[in-house]
Symmetry: C2
Amino acid sequence: MIKSPYLLFLGDAADSLAAKVAQGIKDWRPDMSVGQFRMEGCNADLGLADMTFEQAVAAGAETLVIGVANRGGFISPAWQAKLIEALEAGLDIASGLHNLLRDEPVLVAKAAELGRELFDVRVPSVEYPIGTGVKRTGKRCLPVGTDCSVGKMYTGLAMEKEMLARKMKATFRPTGQTGILITGDGVPLDAVVADFMAGSVEYLTPDNDPDHWDLIEGQGSLYHASYSGVTMALIHGGQPDALVLCHEPTRKHMRGLPDYQQPSLEELRDTALILARVVNPDVKVVGISVNTQHLDEDAAVSYLAETEARMGIPTVDPFRHGAARLVDALEAC
Amino acid sequence: MIKSPYLLFLGDAADSLAAKVAQGIKDWRPDMSVGQFRMEGCNADLGLADMTFEQAVAAGAETLVIGVANRGGFISPAWQAKLIEALEAGLDIASGLHNLLRDEPVLVAKAAELGRELFDVRVPSVEYPIGTGVKRTGKRCLPVGTDCSVGKMYTGLAMEKEMLARKMKATFRPTGQTGILITGDGVPLDAVVADFMAGSVEYLTPDNDPDHWDLIEGQGSLYHASYSGVTMALIHGGQPDALVLCHEPTRKHMRGLPDYQQPSLEELRDTALILARVVNPDVKVVGISVNTQHLDEDAAVSYLAETEARMGIPTVDPFRHGAARLVDALEAC
């Protein structure tokens, strides 16, 4: 578990897109960060207070979170000097970069010397069990996508926000690096060894109160040839009571697979239900979350209305219009 | 790639079941071993010539294959002394045990000193790529099971044997520890990191002659909550042209999951086809392989006949009656 509050490290981010991990933390956990740390030449700005490491520690910060992805995912020499300063100032460091903090001998030695922790959320820190399929108490919602990167994480986070505002019991359960950095905990599912995938999802979503909802972060797609096994493990390890179909309507082909087209929402619904019923015969598809970021408002509204009329279940863009109708559907479960 | 021929190490096997890896090698690759090595108290006997390490090397053996599983999968002190002798005699060592040869400092040091190789087939030795889903040349057959451990490996090996007897181009492609030791090569799929599962299956079954068949070893089951993600990756990474349904009709529940029942063959057929069509729209279910080991001959024959009448495709126990009809079905593809 990564200690909060955070100081968000934007480094020398070339643009705001490079700082999207930090942006996600600020969007979804606005109280989790005391400020941002920017190096010379940084072109990203979250609108948080710029702080030195000492100021952040004085403001209560526990962990410097690397909220920026640079090309190649490596830790540059310019960053390294700053990270050493952060450790010296009293901060732990957490990173989702492809290259690991633990593989930087200078950082490892300094952290050991000072008693600080380095968190590489890209790799598992737990020995997960084999899945058992045993029925768990509490309720679980899983978004499943027609493709990768269609907004499954934002759907879950938007639903959690709405549910907490309604005083419902709800917990977003991250399964990817960004989600883990946003909440401070989770399972980096794409880095788990095959035999333990379903077990790691069971571990992430244990027994809970009967009226508690886990909002599991989805990964991949049953229709994505590269990552469908991960999606399958989420469905069988997650034991969902509710599925939300996620879709991005402007894709020309499956992400990274030019020879493949997205399935229809009907195909996704039918296939996901067949597979989810193996572990939960009562599972329902409760709604559809459409990522309309590439449509203007009129086009978005009419796409949502047409899809809802066709599919017969609440269809919204939770980021654009809020997740209230998806949460209404969960409450009706 | 593990060098053959082998000397099969039976150690102090408590009974013949404990030596089932060695039995598999002898059954399916009868020319691959020069003999067997048994310690005092060994109760297994493959009927091969008993040899000392020196005799085996003189007979051409390159590798001592640990063909026995002891309780806990560890390397006992009694074994260790013998394994050192094997290295000194000139043999490499290959193992599928849970505990790794590479974690035994004495063996590692001796192998390094003598220039011998230690193969732990339980863990990947290759950095597999991410799957691309790009269509490959050649043909591929994948068995899919109603449950785990229903005879998928034996089905593939029996089909390969029949196809090679017919001078067809065919290669069994192991995805599990026993299969890898039987053939000397393959992918230990259950130990591959989630993101690379489909890619590892693509790596295992590359472009080939248009009339060449890969007989991919199946794993898990789409209906097994613990391992379905691995099966999914095999379907999408394997791009099968032909599926064979595998079934064990006497199971009381899914293996290791007392709360779960096997699906019907109809359910398995329909679900597997939906998912396999994502990567190969022309995929067909060509036959059914039933593991009848717990039925007597009359019960087996009538179960096979009834199932074939119901399902409308060749239904055989390839271990009991041969794989000829399954191979006929592949030839018709």
